[in-house]
Subunit: 440 residues, 2 copies
Amino acid sequence: MTDALKIGIAGLGTVGAALFQILKSRHNLLADICGREIVITAVCARDRSRDRGLNLDGVVWFDDPVAMAREADIDVFVELIGGEGDPALASATAALTAGRHFVTANKAMLAQHGVQLAKLAEAHGVLLNFEAAVAGGIPVIKAMRESLTGNAVTRIYGIMNGTCNYILTRMEHENMGFAECLAEAQRLGYAEADPAFDIDGNDTAHKLSILTSLAFGTEIAADEVYIEGITNISIDDIHAADELGYRIKLLGVSQRTATGIEQRVHPTMVPKGSMIAQVEGVTNAVTIEADILGELMLSGPGAGGAATASAVLGDIADIAKSRPGHQHAPALGRPADKLEPYVKAQIQSHEGGYFISLKVDDRTGVFASIATLMASNEISLESIVQRARPAGADAGPQTVILVTHATTESKVRAAVDAIKREGYLAGDPQVIRIERTRDN
Amino acid sequence: MTDALKIGIAGLGTVGAALFQILKSRHNLLADICGREIVITAVCARDRSRDRGLNLDGVVWFDDPVAMAREADIDVFVELIGGEGDPALASATAALTAGRHFVTANKAMLAQHGVQLAKLAEAHGVLLNFEAAVAGGIPVIKAMRESLTGNAVTRIYGIMNGTCNYILTRMEHENMGFAECLAEAQRLGYAEADPAFDIDGNDTAHKLSILTSLAFGTEIAADEVYIEGITNISIDDIHAADELGYRIKLLGVSQRTATGIEQRVHPTMVPKGSMIAQVEGVTNAVTIEADILGELMLSGPGAGGAATASAVLGDIADIAKSRPGHQHAPALGRPADKLEPYVKAQIQSHEGGYFISLKVDDRTGVFASIATLMASNEISLESIVQRARPAGADAGPQTVILVTHATTESKVRAAVDAIKREGYLAGDPQVIRIERTRDN
């Protein structure tokens, strides 16, 4: 049997502790499968005194992850520290430079420094694996990096943030408002005390930028993602979507267009009959459209200690099954120096259908004015609905809902701006993009 | 750059021809990704004179695949001949024995001889890859063999035959009978002229037996799968399912139970709100329930030349990225000599809910008799419905539909036999198992 594979784990939070336990309790099974033992020789965490219920006998403790990366007797550095900068980044750089394989769940770091780390891994002939960084336990990185080799991807879209999907499905099922659902999600541990990073769409954007690189063979461009969060989605929007045959999901979408690659994260109307519309609660899902394979969808747990640990374990096992010095598995699907520059398609040139909800004063001619302004901006309408007022309310603003045929973002913005100037709007317009799926 | 990887393709039907074209047209992209060229040096097919539109310049033609396996200048033998026996099996044996990697889409051969071929591959230090053999373009083999390493699988279920799923979804959507939908599927090329292998469930059973081995680390036991096809499913069953909140799918299910591992293929009622119920037409889907990861679902094209070629290409690319002489990737997830014997759970001990539809003569006391016989067999009922006769039909048999709480197959069979003996049945009873899913 080949020599044991020696692992160092940096970060002993939920994921790190779960991984530690699994590597210990399934030691023999893993050795059978991988043809060699996997042993933890080093760990690193901030607080040495905390009791994590882990048996650390025979494991060297490091207070500093960079020191562990440089000095520990390890083949693989498992980074579960998080955060885009140091100490995670310094650890990654040190570990790869020292010729150690690097396994990480750190989407923020990869979104910002993934190409640089991939180059470092390739220069030192080691593996950089990060299945857990996108969509938790779902093997979407492996599918894109390996299974889809040779395919040209045309579009990738997914639900990649469990917090947002939990809130949106609860709003729909329980007829609850956004704030109430967010509070519930926080109580249940599905949302952070400071939920901004999730609900503003930034977490999804990080993950999407990594998938975009794998999908299109381009450099990672996390700062070029168009982002809208879900904080403006009201229960009224969800009801209106339902009536029109849609559900609202926070999607990350990446797509090749004539002018470049679109990367966008925003609340999206998806047809109720599509698979992605069925994805509920904290579950994540990613759909990949590729020219040879067709359409592939993967769904599963996007977060949680065990699911994330499972993805990290798969990455470690891939390394254990490989043999040192004979790697060719470029981290981003192709060698980092063959990645093309990212060419951005501006959101203004986005083409698609739109849902537009307008609160208007109840005046003669408003309906006609709206219809005229849409037409003068070359927007053709699939439907226009003036919603009945709630019973008992026989005065005050009314809601007009428009669903457009495929048009462009710039035309929609021009039309909405023109409508605003007419002075009959009784509140901010709501504009939600509609995403067509192939499966409905 | 490492030496080129030399490929021989045996079988130039739809998949083989598609693969040939892709390897040629994406040669440079594949070389970039894999760090070496992939070149086709040999092909083999029955009829040399047929024009397949392929440029065979520089490719050695073999009439005999076994000769190609032995003599051709190839690193990888791609078997697209099909059939469980020779010449596919003889080719596999010859290729592996000659130290060539072996890529196949041949589920029938793997279902019967997979363990033996895995042992041969391991003995000769080469890879046996077969992503295309189960669920076409869906990377379920890779997910189970690699991503889920270390997980204990508890259940796996899926729609693995596009022909059956096409027929069942058409019956539901178009309110058409089975025979009519089958004829349509044949016209559209979704069903073979002789459709028995698909509609009787044998194709699904082959695929399930391979997944069972990967899921539970047991030897492949294709002959131990309990099989029922879809030929007895009527439009009435589909309507009744719909009213009760279910859809009927031909599922393959494999599950660890107290007495062994259940492998069964049969028409199954799945809750309408579950993801698997949304899988329509020729699309396939597989759900894996695992103890660390949780629940993972993959769906996509289960057949078709391009999708199958994409899966074969992924297998070839994995070999191209690896480096000769340094493989450790057991074909069945763990070394073949570590696979446990398959211990069969008998279908009689299957536990679950049942849908039972009985055509009964319209006599006093029938309803009471049925209820009594269910109770005396310890079967508790979730619902019992006597369906109204169609308008205008005020005589003739009536339909009684029962939905049971969880019980066992043996109790249901005993109860149905007892009911038969009462003499009031006006036709064969219909019994359909209900599968609970976690996601609804």
